[in-house]
Amino acid sequence: MELKNKRWTDEEFFKVREEVLSQWPTGKEVDLQEAVDYLKKVPEEKNFAIKLKKAKEEKRTLAQPRAGVALIDDHIELLNYLDKEGGADFLPSTIDSYTRQNRYEECEVGIDESIKAGRSMLNGFPAVNHGIKGCRKVYESVNLPVQARHGTPDSRLLAEIIHAGGWTSNEGGGISYNVPYAKAVPIEKSIRDWQYCDRLVGFYEEQGITLNREPFGPLTGTLVPPSMSNAVGIIEALLAAEQGVKNITVGYGQCGNLVQDVAAVRALEEQTEEYLAEYGYKDMVITTVFHQWMGGFPEDEARAFGVISLGSTAAALSGATKVIVKTPHEAVGIPTKEANAAGIRATKMILNMLEGQRLPDSKALQAEIEIIKAETKCILDKVFELGNGDLAVGTVKAFEQGVLDIPFAPSKYNAGKILPARDNEGCVRYLMTGNIPLSKDLLDFNRARLEERAKFEGREVGFQMTVDDIFAVGKGKLIGRPEGM
């Protein structure tokens, strides 16, 4: 089957589906008609898509943690703790790393060992192994909408099981859950596999059940220039819409300059809507998610609270619909449930205090929005051009040619030619532009902003800036200035 950005026919879908469901015994439990009946009974307040739509209408920013452990009962206890003691608005189920690699046998071992050890030996919830029954038990034992959060290049079986299990949102996408999460999965393959996940959601939509899909905005979480992650988000939204997805949350990972962060969210929301309209997708519900700082954290918990809080502030002021919450344990290891709840409480304190407040419109904000949109458009134009109008084909070629290029990604299908660095105000800019097709004006703009910093710091623009910037937040600063500045 040739890769194309085109809605799969039922024939195509159901043919592949047979194979997917046979990948692990729990696959056989999925009966779409029964699942539709089950999902029809999900009350509005436990439907991810509907709750997001409402939040957008009410102009509120809602909070969601990350969390997942190996065993069902422990996982339920964890989620309810985050609801009750943290005040979470949405619940996650972070999936373990073996499931992400489709290594379900190893999950089985992890589950057994966890039972024996009396504590989780997996870094997440192995949803495929627990099957529909396990997922439904989770869904039925909590009071909030549940989403799968992972990093799985091939998430087809997982998607089947979680949605039939009552989880009304799935994070990921053919680019965002491949390039940062895999070494050797061809882009072509992951796009196709995510078309499947999207088509599944489209199928449910056609049955009158709205489910949410969320491209993973932050990618490698490390100094990704906003226009690059926005371009990826928009592509994934378009690909999803083509398969019939209606409720999409596009995402962005905090960079740290407040104006750039707000501009990025606004540009992302506006351009996503523009592109979806341009390509004829109707009745779309587009919301945004802001990820608190996704790079290296400071080890000290008080400083970590500072980082978490600044992210919450930027999220609120940007008007994002949702914010993904970090914890004071971030730099060290998977958080205890207490640390996780503390992160949510700090976040919600700020969201509550800033409810209804926005960064006022200003020349500076408009200028940054314009820059991000212009850069994004340069990239997207070229992607469409490379695909002769087909976005899926264009995306594959764009990665081959480094037109799409994610900094610090492990994937061998990623060119790895661009390098980011902060300018003198802390905005993330392109230092090495590799093959990204920015106009001369935009290239000059990026360069000039970095030269300004270089001058201020009395050194050359160069990779050392990038390295210093990567360590900066962990060391308590935003910009990696030379020692003693």
């Binding site: 999460y181 060290v332 990779f463 990567i470």
Partner: protein, 137 residues
């Protein structure tokens, strides 16, 4: 100074690539010959690379929490492969969650690692230790 060869990689199903790239860059800058096998690397890949390049040390990174499982038996495999007494370092976020560091270090030393590094270890520390252990300077 004689160029020492290091094998560098991220073990197991772990995709954290940033630290790996920084270590590669900084260790190369510090004068080492770095053989970087990248992320998602099984024990075998480390060992094969070390044999092929006649390496002086293996630097294992583990960030995602399964480090303890992924590193088990690595010293024995090295021994079997004839990499007798090769320097074995491990660092990153090598266990799940916040744990008492002394205990963690002891567990990994017992597994046969020569040096065990806590989260947030600077590259300078690694370089200093490598120079000491490899008898440079």
């Amino acid at each position: 100074m004689e160029k020492k060869t290091l094998v560098l990689g991220v073990i197991g199903s772990d995709v954290h690539a940033v630290g790996n790239k920084i270590l590669d860059y900084s260790l190369t800058n510090a004068g080492f010959n770095v053989v970087n096998i990248g992320v998602l690397s099984p024990q075998e890949d480390f060992i094969n690379a070390a044999i092929e390049t006649n390496a002086d040390a293996i630097l294992v990174s583990s960030l995602y929490g399964h480090g303890e499982i992924d590193c088990r038996g690595m010293r024995e495999k090295c021994d079997e492969a004839g990499l007798k007494d090769i320097l074995l370092y491990v660092g990153g976020n090598i266990v799940v969650g916040k744990q008492d560091w002394e205990e963690v270090e002891a567990r990994f030393k017992a597994m046969g690692f020569d040096r065990v590094y806590p989260p947030g270890t600077s590259v300078d520390t690694a370089i200093r230790d490598l120079k000491e252990d490899l008898g440079l300077e």
